[in-house]
């Protein structure tokens, strides 16, 4: 299953910007993503033991489950960054679509008796339609200066969270959430013994999101998004419709979130009401900013790091409230690394590159 996804980054990953001035072989920009993908895909074949970082061997179900969760959140963060970092839309309602994907698929399986694939497809189609309508309503409030959009999306997400918590007609399970309806799911994704398949599914999700986001941002539409973030008026003057492009980014990001919700349902073997709360969106925002908004690897790094710490901090005995430590870390990061963790590395690389350039000129 991973093999089919391997060529994806080759076809669609963003080509290097032509003005970067670096002249390397053409395969150079694809080397890192492919390498990362291959390593992650082969990870379940490794029985390495890493004492503090993971409890068991790397390919034990517990470790694989943890890494799979990290990968799902990396994908979710990357999709969220399509709106936040690339287009400059601050949405607080992303959780609505993640929970929509999870609960929608689950309910389509239990209530309509569909299999996993038709249920997921139905959820994806209906959810995307909902995203078009709600996105159009939310974007009308941008006149308030971006904050209106943030608050209206927040309100919609809150409505979804309330609806799920109220447990209407016993559908959503209220505070307890819903356990995965295993009868509708192919056996390959059920049970501890099949954790490795779920892991590969999570990896496939991250790969798909990366392919979509990276290729979309490299295309003309991505340039328009970036320009909208930087100077919306200019885009309007140049004859592009800002509203349509923003709605496009919103709907694409929401579709990726729906897909992520479906994968999250399978990875955690259930739908939790927490995934519908605005706080869930805030954690995505924290991941993106922590790693570096609008960058290629930032949201991925932030998503993996945040999820890993969230899951592991308690087991190291550092505080029973991971959110206390993560929230504090995040506040510090805003001061220490305003461009995110990946930007620290970039700065250093750029500085050393500049130094090398100047040295070269001296030699001449």
């Amino acid at each position: 299953m991973t093999v089919t996804h391997l060529p994806a980054p080759d076809d669609t990953a963003a080509p290097p910007p032509p003005d970067s001035g670096r002249s390397g072989p053409r395969w150079r920009p694809y080397a890192v993503p492919v390498l990362v993908l291959v390593v992650l895909a082969l990870l379940p074949y490794s029985a390495l033991e890493i004492p503090v970082l993971f409890d068991g061997r790397l390919n034990s179900p517990g470790s694989l489950q943890l890494i799979a969760l990290c990968l799902v959140f990396a994908g979710l963060a990357l999709g969220y960054d399509l709106m936040f970092g690339r287009t400059g839309l601050l949405s607080f309602g992303h959780s609505l679509y993640i929970a929509g994907g999870a609960y929608g698929t689950q309910l389509a399986m239990t209530e309509l008796g569909l299999g996993l694939l038709p249920a997921a497809l139905l959820t994806l189609v209906l959810g995307t339609l909902a995203a078009v309508v709600l996105g159009a309503i939310s974007l009308r409030t941008l006149a308030l200066g971006g904050i209106g959009f943030a608050m209206v999306t927040l309100a919609f997400a809150q409505a979804g969270a309330i609806w799920i918590e109220r447990n209407p007609g016993g559908l959503t399970g209220g505070e307890e959430g819903l356990p995965l309806h295993t009868a509708g799911v192919p056996e390959a994704f059920v049970g501890v013994a099949n954790t490795v398949n779920v892991y590969w599914l999570a990896l496939a999700y991250l790969t798909a999101v990366a392919a979509v986001v990276w290729s979309a941002t490299a295309r003309p539409v991505g340039k328009v998004w970036q320009a909208l973030r930087d100077n919306e008026q200019r885009i309007a003057v140049l004859g592009r419709d800002p509203f349509r492009h923003k709605l496009g980014a919103f709907v694409l990001a929401s579709a990726l979130a729906l897909l992520g919700g479906i994968v999250h349902l399978l990875v955690t073997a259930g739908a939790t009401p927490h995934s519908s709360t605005p706080e869930f969106t805030l954690t995505l925002l924290v991941m993106v900013v922590l790693g570096g908004a609008g960058t290629r690897w930032g949201p991925v790094v932030g998503g993996v790091l945040f999820t890993y710490l969230d899951q592991r901090l308690a087991s190291w005995g550092i505080g029973s409230e991971p959110m206390l430590i993560l929230g504090t870390l995040f506040v510090l990061a805003v001061y220490v690394a305003p461009g995110g963790l990946t930007s620290i590395r970039l700065h250093r690389a750029r500085r050393s590159a500049a130094r090398a350039d100047s040295r070269k000129q001296e030699h001449r």
């Binding site: 601050l90 309503i137 939310s138 974007l139 009308r140 409030t141 941008l142 006149a143 308030l144 200066g145 904050i147 209106g148 943030a150 608050m151 209206v152 927040l154 309100a155 919609f156 809150q158 409505a159 309330i162 609806w163 109220r166 919306e232 008026q233 885009i235 309007a236 419709d241 800002p242 509203f243 605005p278 706080e279 805030l282 954690t283 925002l285 924290v286 900013v289 505080g319 029973s320 409230e321 991971p322 959110m323 206390l324 993560l326 929230g327 504090t328 995040f330 506040v331 805003v334 001061y335 305003p338």
Partner: protein, 314 residues
């Protein structure tokens, strides 16, 4: 009839609570462009401080002391946050918002680790625990306390904004911050002032919220904050009466819908928000209330406004 009276007064009480939170939010956002996500956390911490006081003192003196402690806790917390965190990020409104987001995650977690995740019952003094008969309805006294508190705050804030020099600077800063700075006024002091005022109001709302709900829990402030956001959106940022009117509308809608539509008051509020957003002509940054008032004041101003090029949204 008596049900309607009860619902109305309870809705007004809820609206009063929303107003106390939203007024601070609107002032801070209007002046500093900071959407303060930590506002709910201020409320939660103040509510717990008040609960501690009430738990040890009790009775009416305890409540008065709790009001004092709660309000000053909110004020102190806001001033500390402004001085230590927000102040360093001038000119970076997005980072300021992110810092408050971080606080809104960390502070409830801190409260939760200190006092556990369970809701604590708020010891309401006996004098406020009962009901009074108003127009045939048994109305809980604490609703009336909330309404009275909010009216006092509205009058007080309005007097502060319109009658004092600092109020003038705040109002001018909300209108056009760059111009006020250019005129040589130190706006940063107004920032601290507004943050402190907002924090104090959130603290007061925390104590009164404890009275209203009869309990405090670590995430109470965060869930109230979302409704305060809705209030701010509907009411706009530029006038306290606008925020008050919007808070009342939201509170009443929620209570009526909760009773007549079978517990879906929260959803009704969101629908109300969507309707207001849709009914509001795009391109204007003000609330419908503001627009109506402006039309009433100068009928000719309206068409000019619609001709002006706007932010680009169609």
């Amino acid at each position: 009839m008596d049900t309607l009276v009860l619902l109305t007064l309870t809705g007004l009480g809820l609206g009063a609570l929303y107003f106390l939170i939203a007024s601070g939010l609107a002032l801070i956002f209007g002046l500093m462009d900071v959407l303060n996500f930590a506002h709910g956390a201020f409320l939660t911490v103040s509510a717990y401080a008040a609960w501690q006081v009430l738990d040890s003192v009790g009775g009416m003196p305890g409540l008065l002391l709790a009001l004092l402690v709660g309000t000053s806790t909110g004020l102190l917390l806001a001033v500390v946050v402004e001085f230590a965190l927000i102040r360093r990020l001038y000119g970076r409104p997005r980072d300021q918002i992110l810092v408050t987001v971080g606080l809104s995650l960390a502070i409830p977690a801190l409260v939760q680790s200190a006092w556990s995740a369970d809701a604590r019952s708020f010891p309401v003094p006996d004098a406020l625990d009962g009901t009074v008969t108003l127009a045939g309805a048994q109305v809980p006294v604490n609703r009336l306390v909330l309404i009275a508190g909010a009216v006092l705050v509205l009058v007080g804030v309005q007097l502060f904004l319109t009658r004092t020099r600092y109020g003038l600077i705040v109002r001018a800063g909300v209108e056009d911050r760059a111009m006020v700075t250019a005129l040589g006024v130190d706006v940063t002091r107004a920032f601290t002032l507004v943050f402190a005022l907002g924090g104090a109001l959130a603290g007061l709302a925390g104590v009164l919220g404890g009275l209203y709900f009869g309990s405090v829990s670590p995430h109470q402030g965060t869930s109230l904050l979302i409704f305060a956001f809705v209030v701010v959106i509907i009411g706009g940022l530029h006038s306290m009466p606008g925020v008050a009117l919007s808070a009342l509308t939201v509170g009443l809608t929620q209570q009526y819908a909760n009773y007549y539509l079978g517990g879906y008051g929260d959803l009704a509020v969101v629908v109300l928000l969507a309707l207001v957003v849709l009914a509001r002509p795009t391109g204007s940054g003000t609330s419908p209330v503001d627009r109506i008032r402006r039309r009433l004041e100068s009928p000719r101003a309206a068409p000019v406004e619609s001709v002006l090029p706007t932010g680009g949204t169609p």
